[in-house]
Every structure is written in structure tokens, then in C-alpha cells.
């Protein structure tokens, strides 16, 4: 703003964003910036306000105070669907797919919004499912999949939107070790064209994927830095170990 030669505006930023639930301050004046192209992990103890914070970013929850900017635009008052239409994608912490619809329809819903009329839906849907290895079950109802496969479908729906920012809320919860390895490879691949914000409890996933880590505690940013810096941070260790 004052220095015109400064770095380009981050893809996503918040200023003093705050959310009260009755007398409880779930998110407390958080300033957050996420430059384009990064994989950022958001960690913190249970009840730190991580899910509320990404809810504020995605527009599922409106802030009591503060501002949210995305892709050069103030989106604080925009409803969730309008933010998604501007290039966010959000995968739910608790698997939220269309259980009675086929895999094809699930992914088609993620794809069709960005297609011009006449563009072929089928090949895009198959490609998105192929990336998670589910392209052999197009006609199967999504509800028949195992839990791990439902998580993968959810991720495929996120990818299929070709988002600029992909928000993943605890994506590896309930996945087997083998599935987690596949997931990590997938996120690295996605991160070549998208920015990724990841809420995650699995420290192995966080440490190996994230470029930078933001630690939330009691609704506020406790620390931010590279995985190595966070690993060594005494304040973070106290928050996690309750020391």
C-alpha cells in the first residue's frame, strides 16, 4: 500500500477477523495472509477455533468483526456460494457427499458450474475421478463407498472445481496409511496450480506437506512459520503438551 514495489497481494487475507458465539470468542482478531501457490497447514489443539476460522474464510459463518479479502476483493459480506464461484473450494470435515447420487453425478456437480454450455462434462468428470482412482465406479451410488473412498470422492469434488484456493478440513481423518500416502501425492500435484489450506491433526502429513504452518490456540494465532520453526517453538509445545 505504501510501498508500490511490495510483493503482490496475497490470495487470501484477513484483518482482525473475530467471531463470537454468545459469550465465547471462538476466533479472536486474527490477521492472516496466505500467498498464492503455498501449501499452508492450520493446526492447533481441539477447540482452538480452526473449523470456525475456515468457516469464516469460506463464508459458512459470518464474522462479528473484521474483514476477509480473497483474490483482490473484499468478500466479507459475500455468501458462501459467491465465494466458491470466485474460486474457493471447500471439503467438509465430516464427509458430506450426495450419498444417493452416483459418483458421476457427485463430481459432475462440481464440474458443471465452470463449464460453458456444450463443453463435454463426461471426460472432465472421469479425469477428476481418475486422479483419486475411483474412475471405475462411475454409476455406483456414492453412499455405497467405504469411508476412505468417500473421503477421496470428496477430494475429487474439490479438485474438479479447479479452485484457486482449496480448503481441506481434516482430509486424512479415517484414511488408512496407504491412502494417506496417496493423498499426500495428490495434494502436492494440486498445489502446482492451486493454493492449499489444510486443517490437519496428523503431524506426519502436516510436516511433510506444508510450506508453512499457522498454529491457532484459543482463537488466536499462537505461532506461524516453517515446519522446522514450528517444531522447535516452545510456545507451541506448551500449547500441545499442556506444559
Amino acid at each position: 500500500m505504501t510501498a508500490p514495489s511490495a510483493a503482490p497481494e496475497p490470495l487470501l487475507s484477513t484483518q482482525g477477523v473475530t467471531r463470537w458465539f454468545g459469550g465465547l470468542c471462538a476466533v479472536d482478531h486474527v490477521d492472516f495472509t496466505l500467498p498464492a501457490g503455498e501449501i499452508r497447514a492450520l493446526i492447533g489443539p481441539n477447540g482452538a477455533g480452526k473449523s470456525t476460522f475456515v468457516g469464516l474464510l469460506a463464508g459458512r459463518i459470518l464474522p462479528s468483526e473484521g474483514r476477509v479479502r480473497f483474490a483482490g476483493e473484499d468478500v466479507t459480506r459475500l455468501p458462501a456460494h459467491a465465494r466458491m464461484a470466485r474460486g474457493m473450494a471447500y471439503t467438509f470435515q465430516i464427509t458430506s457427499i450426495f450419498a444417493n447420487l452416483s459418483l458421476f453425478d457427485n463430481v459432475a456437480l462440481a464440474v458443471q458450474r465452470r463449464l460453458a454450455p456444450g463443453q463435454s462434462l463426461g471426460s472432465e468428470v472421469e479425469a477428476a475421478l481418475a486422479r483419486v482412482g475411483l474412475d471405475d465406479r462411475l454409476d455406483q451410488p456414492a453412499g455405497d463407498l467405504s469411508y476412505g473412498h468417500q473421503r477421496l470422492l470428496e477430494i475429487a469434488m474439490g479438485l474438479a472445481q479447479r479452485p484457486r484456493l482449496l480448503i481441506l478440513d481434516e482430509p486424512t481423518q479415517g484414511l488408512s496409511d496407504g491412502e494417506i500416502e496417496g493423498f499426500k501425492a495428490l495434494v502436492r500435484e494440486v498445489a502446482r496450480d492451486a493454493t492449499v489450506l489444510l486443517i490437519e491433526h496428523n503431524m506426519d502429513v502436516v510436516m511433510s506437506l506444508a510450506d508453512r504452518i499457522t498454529v491457532l490456540d484459543m482463537g488466536a494465532v499462537l505461532a506461524e512459520g516453517t515446519p522446522a520453526e514450528i517444531h522447535a517453538d516452545p510456545a507451541v509445545q506448551r500449547a500441545y503438551l499442556g506444559g
Binding site: 458462501a80 456437480l109 462434462l121
Partner: protein, 314 residues
């Protein structure tokens, strides 16, 4: 991914079968089926909202009546011809639906049911209140001379059947095209998981309002056609009974299937018709049949068929 071929062929076959029925049915059933086809358009309209979008309305009599009176009142009092009056009826249905939708969609679930029910009751009472124009419960007859549609006498049995058939066929293929389109997929997504649809970037409120307006236009078309084909406009059609009937038809035939509404109306019509030939307590037989069907085919006749044998049925 299933192509368009199978569903398209099935619906075409049904349309042709109904066309052939015009020449084959005995007189009584010929007249009855004309009525069934017109009411099936009403049920099709209800199904767009309930079966596909998951919005349970208890006020659809209002949209049917909007079509009926939107057509009938200008004909009766302004001497309007049948052709513009019919399209005025469709527009009335869509317009009333847009107004009710804009207000009722602020609620969801049970509250939505109650609000739509209240709007329909308000509409019914309004018709009774303007007794001078509407003749209330007694209603009014549209003279046979006025019921000429592009030179065709709608009171003639053949013309009447074929008009009802044409309207039904157009409505059926319109609904088929809608539910197989990307927009139709979004409506089903809203029914299945509204929050997920929103988080995929769809403006859920706008899609719901669109579904209500389409539903209102179809119900308005059914109401206007009913008045023109059978020559009578009365407040009974705005009563709560005509809000419950489309729900029953769609539930019986199969909510969220394109042919379910037709099957539901036919089944219910002949159930009451046949049982009233056996006993005066025909509602008892009809009621028992409904209970049995609900117990053993909770997804409706076609819904059950789709679940068991024909997963590609739209």
C-alpha cells in the same frame, strides 16, 4: 453414464400409448382419462418442487386455482378469448408462485409447509370473499361457445382428450428435459444435501425459487386447461383438498420420477372409481390400499420399480 436413449424411448412409448388410447378407450374411460391427463400435469408440477427439489408444499391448490381463475375470470367478465386466457392462466400460476416463493423460502421444513398452507388458505378465502366475481363455492360455467381453441371445440370428446394428451406430453418432456439438464442435477443436489450444494458454489435460494416458478407455471397450465376442457371454474379447486391430492398422487406414483405423477393420478382415480362401485364406504377401501402401498412401497410405485429393476429411470 446412461445415455438419453432408454429414458427417451420409454417416455415416447408412453406418449404414443396414451395417443392410441384415444381411439381405443370406451367412452367412459375416454372421458376419465382426459381428466386424469390434465390432473397429471398438476402432479408433474408438484413433483418438480417436491420430488426433485425436496420442497414439501401444502399450498399447491393456490397455483392450480391461479391458473383456473387467471383463465376463467377474464373470460367470464372481460369476454377474453380462450387462447389468450389459457396463457394468462399459465402466467398467473407462475406469478403467484414467484410471490409465494419469495416469501415462503425464508422458511424451511415444517415452517415452509405451514406458510404455503396459509397462503393457499388465504387464496381460497379471497376467492370466497369476492363472491360477486367468482360466485364462490358455487362457481361459474364457461359456456361451450367460448371454449373454442384455435377453432377447435374443446367440449367435443376427441378434441378434449387430444388437448389433454398434448398438454401432458409437452409437460412430461419439458420435465424430463429439465431433470436431465445440469440445472436439474442441481435441484436434486439441493434435495439430497443443501449445504453441500451451496458449498459447491450454487445459489441455492435462486434455484429453489426457479423450481417454484416452474412448478407454478405447470400447475397454472393444468388449472387453466381443466377449466377450459370441462367448462367449470369453482372455489373447490382452491380448497385444501387440492393441496393434499398432488402430494398423494406423487407419493403413490413415485416422487422424483417423471412418470410417477401420471401413474399416481391414474391409480388413485381408478381406485376411488372402482371401490365406489362396490360400496358406499369407498374411502375405506381407498384408504386401506394407500396404507398397504405406503408400507410396502414407500418410494411409490415407480420409485420401487426403479430401486429394484430400473436404476436408469429418470
Amino acid at each position: 453414464m446412461t445415455g438419453f436413449a432408454k429414458p427417451g424411448a420409454l417416455h415416447l412409448a408412453v406418449a404414443l400409448l396414451l395417443l392410441a388410447a384415444n381411439f381405443l378407450l370406451p367412452e367412459y374411460h375416454h372421458g376419465a382419462m382426459a381428466r386424469v391427463l390434465t390432473l397429471a400435469v398438476f402432479a408433474l408440477g408438484y413433483n418438480v418442487m417436491f420430488g426433485y427439489t425436496g420442497l414439501l408444499s401444502l399450498g399447491h391448490a393456490l397455483f392450480f386455482a391461479a391458473g383456473l381463475y387467471g383463465m376463467g375470470l377474464p373470460m367470464q367478465h372481460l369476454g377474453l378469448d380462450a387462447e389468450p386466457a389459457f396463457f394468462l392462466g399459465i402466467a398467473s400460476g407462475a406469478l403467484v408462485a414467484a410471490a409465494v416463493g419469495a416469501l415462503a423460502l425464508r422458511t424451511a421444513g415444517v415452517a415452509f409447509m405451514i406458510v404455503t398452507l396459509m397462503f393457499a388458505q388465504a387464496g381460497y378465502l379471497t376467492i370466497l370473499y369476492f363472491l360477486e366475481y367468482t360466485r364462490g363455492d358455487e362457481g361459474f360455467v364457461i359456456a361451450r361457445e367460448a371454449r373454442f381453441f384455435f377453432g377447435l371445440d374443446l367440449a367435443a370428446p376427441d378434441v378434449r382428450y387430444l388437448s389433454a394428451w398434448l398438454l401432458f406430453t409437452v409437460a412430461m418432456f419439458a420435465v424430463l428435459a429439465l431433470v436431465r439438464s445440469p440445472a436439474g442435477r442441481v435441484l436434486v443436489a439441493i434435495r439430497e444435501n443443501e449445504e453441500r450444494a451451496r458449498m459447491l458454489g450454487y445459489d441455492v435460494a435462486r434455484y429453489k425459487l426457479g423450481a417454484i416458478v416452474i412448478s407454478g407455471a405447470l400447475c397454472g397450465a393444468a388449472g387453466a386447461a381443466y377449466g377450459l376442457l370441462f367448462g367449470y371454474v369453482g372455489a373447490t379447486f382452491a380448497s385444501v383438498q387440492y393441496s393434499i391430492l398432488p402430494l398423494l398422487w406423487v407419493l403413490l406414483g413415485g416422487a422424483g420420477t417423471v412418470l410417477g405423477p401420471l401413474l399416481g393420478v391414474t391409480f388413485m382415480f381408478y381406485l376411488i372409481d372402482l371401490s365406489s362401485g362396490i360400496t358406499d364406504a369407498y374411502m375405506l377401501i381407498a384408504g386401506a390400499a394407500l396404507v398397504i402401498l405406503t408400507l410396502f412401497a414407500p418410494a411409490g410405485l415407480l420409485g420401487e420399480l426403479r430401486r429394484r429393476a430400473l436404476p436408469w429411470l429418470p
